[in-house]
């Protein structure tokens, strides 16, 4: 709050009202509802509900299918996060270094930010088209018969490639702006001290980029968990049954298609706890960064 703030009584309440109303109806109520209904078993025909305590949760932890989905989600998240960050860092370092065409490269490498995940999935369908898709052609050359939507492994591979393709631009933007904020004097000093570009990168640039990197790590994990929904939904070709899916996708499939509200809510709550943990971790990192600068 500003020291010299206004002391009008009714105006701030009026200003806050729309925001508070919206979050009360569309945030707190649903979040609370998800938590409570995770303790109930819904009648599939809509005749009331019975309190079952933690049964929905124990069901999940003993469900082979849920554990399989959870395992895939972890693997998917690790791979997507790693490759999106690594590729983006490579491109950002190079784009920061070149003198000519830097602006053009920047534009070409960032425009995909604006492509919606399901549309990226659609693009994946083209690239992995079984008869002439450029990527499946490439794999065929190496003797890999790529069948998207049929083979579990191939579909998972395509999901990861498309999700990385979609995420590289955001990371690129952040890394590049992080690189550009490294002071000139530091760069020049490093240049005098050390001739080797690789050494210079690992000793000077990389540690200075670490705060950006940590921040992006959390963002990328959240992206892999939640925002890839559209990619997965288009690439499984409408047959989620035998294709890989992530935890968020399963919440949707079980709750919306399978009508298992209790189980789906329990899954939501597990995800809520996961996100909360991630966000708290992120806030603590940011706090620490503020102390440094």
């Amino acid at each position: 709050m500003k020291r010299a703030g206004f002391s009008t009584k009714w105006l701030p309440i009026l200003l806050l009202l729309p925001q508070l109303l919206i979050i009360a109806i569309f945030f707190y109520w649903p979040a609370l509802h998800a938590v409570t209904s995770s303790f109930y078993l819904q009648d599939p025909f809509g005749f009331g509900q019975t309190f079952v305590g933690l049964e929905n949760y124990t069901h999940l932890t003993s469900s082979v299918e849920y554990l399989k989905v959870a395992k895939f989600t972890v693997l998917f998240t690790v791979l997507v996060t790693f490759f999106s960050l690594a590729l983006a860092l490579l491109f950002a370092v190079k784009a920061d270094k070149v003198l000519r065409g830097a602006k053009t490269y920047r534009t070409l490498l960032m425009w995909v930010y604006a492509v919606a995940p399901p549309v990226a999935g659609f693009i994946g369908l083209l690239m992995f088209n079984q008869t002439w898709g450029p990527l499946s052609d490439l794999f065929k050359f190496f003797g890999w018969d790529f069948t998207l939507g049929v083979n579990y492994f191939d579909t998972a591979f395509a999901m990861i490639v498309v999700s990385v393709w979609k995420q590289v631009p955001v990371n690129f933007i952040f890394f590049l702006s992080g690189l550009q904020s490294i002071p000139r004097s530091v760069r020049e000093a490093a240049l005098l001290d050390n001739r080797s570009g690789t050494r210079r990168f690992w000793d000077i640039t990389f540690p200075l980029l670490a705060p950006t990197g940590f921040f992006l790590l959390i963002t990328n994990i959240t992206y892999s968990l939640f925002d890839t929904f559209g990619v997965i939904d288009t690439l499984n070709k409408g047959e989620p049954g035998n294709n890989p899916m992530t935890l968020v996708y399963k919440v949707f499939v079980d709750g919306f298609r399978g009508n298992d509200l209790g189980g789906s809510s329990a899954q939501s709550v597990i995800l809520m706890i996961l996100v909360l943990a991630l966000t708290v971790f992120q806030f603590r990192l940011i706090e620490r960064r503020i102390h440094y600068t």
Partner: protein, 299 residues
């Protein structure tokens, strides 16, 4: 003796220069490769929308530019798809625009109002309001999707623009962003304004809003792209084909590739292109604002 050392020096010089050049070539090679990886799908889509579907089906993407562009554009924009027979590309484009613009506008107006109240007023429950609002940053819509859907259903907002837009606004990203910005505005401004006798509304409209122009623009771009690209929420809320956005309709667009004897590549790719172009163009044209907004809002 001197001759030899001079010679050696010259060799070292040229070696250094060529080595340096090689590295530059390598840097450019990586960047060009990266750019191509990003661009290739777009080029394929651009080629197939000019080509007859039969040719695409047999040969796949080629290097020739066909003559079917007009026809594919007409089919995509004005010919109905889906069951109702009313769902044209034009209609989906309209819905996408309403969602993108409505979401961006709503989020900014509501966020600015709330941020103004929190930063510039002496309010007893300001801390409480702050925490109530900022807790919403913690949980994405995806984890509370089913109960949110039920509420919208109970309120009778299925298949309406309100039902589509308002629940998406229920997170405080814009409020947080404007709060940060307002706090960085010098204290002297409000002191001067108060000495001059300006009331809170006058101060907001005449001083704070003009001061925030760049921030508003940056936020608008990010929020427009975010709203336009929404998928899961529209998938649940709009069951009426009349209400489909381009991104929501992508599943239906995929079906024109799967169901038919000759997959309608031209039409499907044209629709996908139309779904991509507006947000991409906005991001490219307002690049510096967009980058500023993105990198500063998330800090």
């Amino acid at each position: 003796m001197t001759d030899i050392s001079a010679h050696a020096h010259a060799i070292a010089q040229t070696r250094k220069r060529t080595w340096f050049k090689l590295e530059t070539v390598f840097d450019h090679a990586i960047l060009i490769l990266g750019s191509l990886l990003m661009l290739l799908p777009l080029l394929i889509m651009l080629q197939t929308v000019t080509t007859p579907d039969l040719e695409t089906m047999k040969l796949g993407p080629t290097f020739t530019i066909g003559t079917e562009l007009d026809d594919n554009f007409r089919k995509a924009m004005f010919e109905a798809s889906g069951f109702s027979g009313q769902n044209t590309g034009m209609n989906m484009l309209k819905n996408s625009m309403i969602l993108g613009l409505g979401f961006a506008l709503g989020k900014i107006v509501i966020g600015m109002m709330a941020a103004y109240a929190i930063v510039y007023f002496r309010l007893r429950f300001a801390t409480l309001a702050f925490w109530l609002i900022f807790t919403t940053l913690l949980l994405p819509l995806e984890v509370r999707i089913l109960p949110s859907y039920e509420i919208v259903q109970q309120l009778g907002m299925m298949n309406t623009y309100q039902g589509l837009i308002i629940p998406l606004i229920a997170s405080a990203t814009a409020t947080f962003f404007f709060r940060q910005f307002f706090r960085s505005v010098p204290e002297e401004l409000i002191e001067a304004a108060r000495i001059d006798g300006a009331g809170p509304i006058k101060f907001f409209i005449d001083i704070l809003v003009p001061l925030s122009q760049t921030m508003i623009a940056a936020m608008f771009i990010i929020m427009f792209v975010y709203g336009w690209n929404q998928y899961l929420w529209p998938t649940m809320i709009t069951t009426d084909e009349n209400m489909y956005t381009l991104v929501r309709g992508i599943k239906q667009i995929v079906q024109t590739l799967e169901g038919n004897n000759i997959p309608e590549f031209g039409r499907a790719n044209m629709l996908a292109l139309i779904a991509i172009l507006p947000p991409v163009l906005v991001v490219i044209f307002f690049q510096s604002w967009f980058v500023k907004g993105l990198t500063e809002s998330d800090k």
